[in-house]
């Protein structure tokens, strides 16, 4: 890029443009063509914000809620929401409901594959839908909190606070899962038919937030995001954040890598973007929509947000032996354009592909976020600290068992 002037913008300059209704905002899909035509420098001059989106099951999610004090008061020691156990090891009337929690009487995998029709993710969806949720709680009773039990109905509106606080969302890239074995597998990556019957993936590819800012230069604590149809925030690196995986020349990770922890108020979310899901033979989860705006502070960010499906690859991983046994092995690389075509080649065999994530929803999220910003209703949050990047020496360690 010799001889070309560098483009530099700040968060406050872009926010000032948003306030005046002058910001140029495009989706990560639209950005591909712009970078192609005008190059990174031209694109960086033209575009201020690129919006991204992703929608899929995000198991490491859950909601904190405070339901207010009963009369007489109670310090809850065990609690259930519609029969699903919520963690009560917090102050008197605070709970955390995790999306993979299932009712104690659920038949699980006793008849394999289990159906897992209702769990924590469904409780969260029901709350957002405005439905009544049955709260049962027990306590041992103290001088200040004498009550021994409550059994009542709650609704989202009547709760004091209820917010998603998700330890790990929006994985930057994910495995393409296959089954080399002889029997059908039921996994968190969906049903995998024997002998390479299908190949399942789970990423929005070119629209995916962390794939558009591969070194997390604009994403970290305080980044304002779209979450579940509401505005929310990134609150730090997610669990298993692993920026040290191998990257392509374009900086894009070639395997599951970065993650982020997120926060968002349930009041204001929409079930369209927050869905309780049942993963047959595996358990329950929550399909969640997340969108991150990426400010184009310089031409490098224009370049990275211009990434397209064929420039993003992932690894083909066997879920019959390798994955469950912790064997790190790849049966080759495949890009997202190939994955979205419906068929890929593995060891000379044509294999049908399916996604667990939703591309149409990812598009809608990126579009919605774009409208919010263009309408002056959403401003960029400058991160106080960005997620640890490739040079941070952070990696994902297996457990040492003694």
């Amino acid at each position: 890029m010799a001889g070309q002037t560098e483009v530099r913008k700040t968060y406050s300059e872009i926010n000032a443009k948003i306030r005046k209704g002058e910001a140029v905002v495009v989706t990560a899909e639209e950005m591909i063509g712009i970078v192609d035509r005008e190059g990174p420098v031209g694109a960086a001059r033209k575009v201020d914000v690129v919006t991204t989106g992703t929608f899929g099951p995000m198991c490491s999610s859950g909601a904190f809620l405070n339901f207010g004090h009963s009369k007489p008061k109670i310090k809850v020691s065990k609690a259930w929401l519609n029969g699903v156990s919520a963690y009560a090891g917090l102050a008197a009337v605070d709970l955390y409901i995790g999306v993979t929690e299932i009712p104690e009487e659920d038949p699980e995998n006793k008849v394999h594959p289990g159906k897992f029709l209702y769990g924590g993710g469904h409780v969260i969806e029901d709350l957002i839908a405005g439905k009544e949720v049955r709260l049962k709680a027990v306590a041992y009773g103290t001088d200040c909190y004498p009550s021994g039990e409550i059994d009542t109905q709650i609704t989202l509106q009547a709760l004091n606070e209820c917010y998603l606080f998700n330890p790990r969302n929006a994985y930057q890239n994910y495995n393409c899962a296959v089954n080399f074995g002889n029997k059908m597998l039921y996994t968190y990556m969906g049903g995998l038919k024997p002998k390479l019957g299908n190949a399942n993936y789970c990423s929005a590819g070119q629209l995916s937030p962390l794939l558009n800012d591969p070194y997390y230069r604009t994403i970290g604590i305080g980044t304002r995001i779209f979450i579940g149809g509401n505005m929310g925030y990134v609150v730090g690196p997610g669990t298993q954040h692993n920026p040290s995986v191998k990257r392509g020349e374009n900086g894009v990770v070639r395997a599951p890598a970065g993650t982020m922890a997120t926060y968002g108020d349930l009041k204001g979310m929409r079930t369209e973007y927050v869905r309780g899901v049942s993963l047959q033979g595996y358990g329950t989860s929550l399909a969640l929509g997340i969108g991150v705006p990426i400010p184009i502070l310089d031409q490098e960010l224009a370049r990275t947000t211009g990434v397209s499906d064929e420039q993003i690859v992932t690894q083909i991983v066997d879920y019959s032996t390798d994955y469950p046994q912790g064997i790190a092995k790849s049966y080759g690389e495949v890009n997202y354009r190939e994955l979205k075509s419906g068929k890929i080649m593995i060891e000379g065999k044509g294999v049908k592909t399916a996604a667990l994530s939703s591309y149409p929803k990812a598009v809608k999220i990126a579009e919605t976020l774009k409208e919010w910003i263009l309408g002056g209703r959403f401003f960029l949050g400058e991160p106080q600290e960005t997620l640890p990047s490739a040079d941070a020496g952070v990696s994902f360690k297996p457990l040492t068992q003694r």
């Binding site: 099951p57 969906g190 869905r275 899901v277 049942s278 419906g342 667990l356 591309y359």
Partner: protein, 136 residues
């Protein structure tokens, strides 16, 4: 009068014989072929909508079974809850009938009940449980 949807499975040796035609000729039944598939070296499959007098219908089905055709009543149908479907595509690789399709441009997933053979494989596969069995 009855109007029923049935799935017929033929073995290889029966494929070449004009069995289904006899339903009209000998049993006075009217039918619509909703789907027919004959796979080389495998069995043939046919989904019919059959209409006629109840007694004739029973006799016609008994005739089919006698000739060695497997007859499955499809008294259920699969409905897609469009509001719950979020267009992932997990169901597209399990559907054996071609009832589920995907538009590769938009990546939206479509469902054609006419082609559905009610195998129910999509029901458990769909994460938000958008595909549901309905008794008709």
């Amino acid at each position: 009068m009855v109007a029923k949807k049935v799935l017929l499975r033929f073995s290889n040796s029966l494929i070449s014989k004009p069995i289904v035609y006899r339903l009209v000729k000998d049993y006075n039944l009217a039918f619509n072929i909703l789907k027919a598939q004959i796979l080389p070296d495998e069995e043939g499959e046919m989904v019919l909508e059959i209409e006629g007098d109840r007694a004739c219908y029973e006799k016609g089905m008994a005739f089919l079974k006698d000739t060695g055709v497997e007859v499955l009543n499809i008294d259920k149908r699969i409905v897609k809850d469009e509001e719950r479907c979020y267009h992932c595509s997990a169901c597209t690789v399990v559907c054996p009938s071609g009832a589920i399709s995907i538009d590769r441009e938009t990546m939206r997933v479509g469902y054609d009940p006419e082609q559905c053979i009610v195998c129910e494989l999509c029901v458990g596969t769909c994460p938000p449980r958008a595909m549901r069995v309905e008794i008709v």
